[in-house]
């Protein structure tokens, strides 16, 4: 029973679940009816990949994957802002 509820098993199953959810977010990003739907899907993909990076940093001895997750969050925020500006004002930087 202790082997069933181990730390590594929980982390690996969480990684598999988050990967499947990222694929489903890709479904929304591909066939979203409007352009903001696609932007929301891509934003959700970025957040899920941030979570994947943190889980990899906890599972493996590579600590610096936390930094990878932080930089992915920053890039996702900037891309969301740029896409929203491009939709509403039809230019990225005015």
């Amino acid at each position: 029973m202790a082997e069933l509820f181990s730390f590594n098993l929980l982390l690996t199953s969480a990684l598999i679940l988050i990967s499947i959810r990222t694929l489903f977010c890709g479904y929304r990003a591909f066939i979203g009816p409007t352009i903001p739907d696609r932007v929301i899907g891509i934003d959700a993909i970025g957040t899920n990949i941030t979570a994947i990076a943190i889980l990899l940093a906890i599972l493996t001895p590579f600590d610096y994957f936390v930094l990878v997750g932080l930089v992915l969050a920053i890039i996702g925020f900037i891309s969301t802002i740029a896409a929203a500006n491009y939709i509403s004002e039809s230019e990225v930087i005015q």
Binding site: A14, I18, Y27, T34, Y64, F77, S88
Partner: protein, 137 residues
């Protein structure tokens, strides 16, 4: 092909209180991410999907960051994880607000017969007047 279990950190006491708390926050984060993705797939409208993802996905990723902080403690990558929590709580509402404002400027309609809320001083107007009031604000 890397054998990930051979590389994994030997948390020799799996059932120590700290690792139990880390497990709890990981399970909480997975639950919130699942709810957010389900809402992104199933809800009928841009605004409803934004409502689902911007709250629950942010909360899920922040709790997974917080489990990283609990795992590493007050050193190095743990403090970076705390910075990640702060960053997510600052930026995710900003990004979703920008997307919803862009969707309103694009003219994306609501699902069903829902309209934009009227102003408090124009309650007597009909819905068409309220829409024309809202779009030029």
């Amino acid at each position: 092909m890397i054998d990930i279990h051979a590389l994994s950190v030997a948390l020799d006491s799996t059932h120590s209180p700290r690792s139990m708390i880390v497990m709890f926050f990981i399970i909480l984060g997975c639950f919130f991410l699942t709810v957010g993705t389900l809402g992104l797939l199933r809800l009928p409208d841009v605004y409803n999907r934004l409502h689902a993802t911007s709250k629950s996905t942010t909360l899920g990723a922040a709790s997974i960051f917080f489990s990283g902080f609990l795992h590493y403690g007050f050193q190095g990558m743990g403090l970076t994880s705390l910075v990640g929590v702060l960053f997510l709580f600052l930026t995710a509402p900003t990004g979703s607000h920008m997307i919803s404002r862009a969707a309103q400027k694009m003219g994306v309609e609501f699902f069903g017969d829902v309209t934009w809320p009227t102003h408090s001083d124009s309650q007597t107007h009909s819905n068409e007047d309220a829409i024309s009031d809202e779009t030029d604000v």
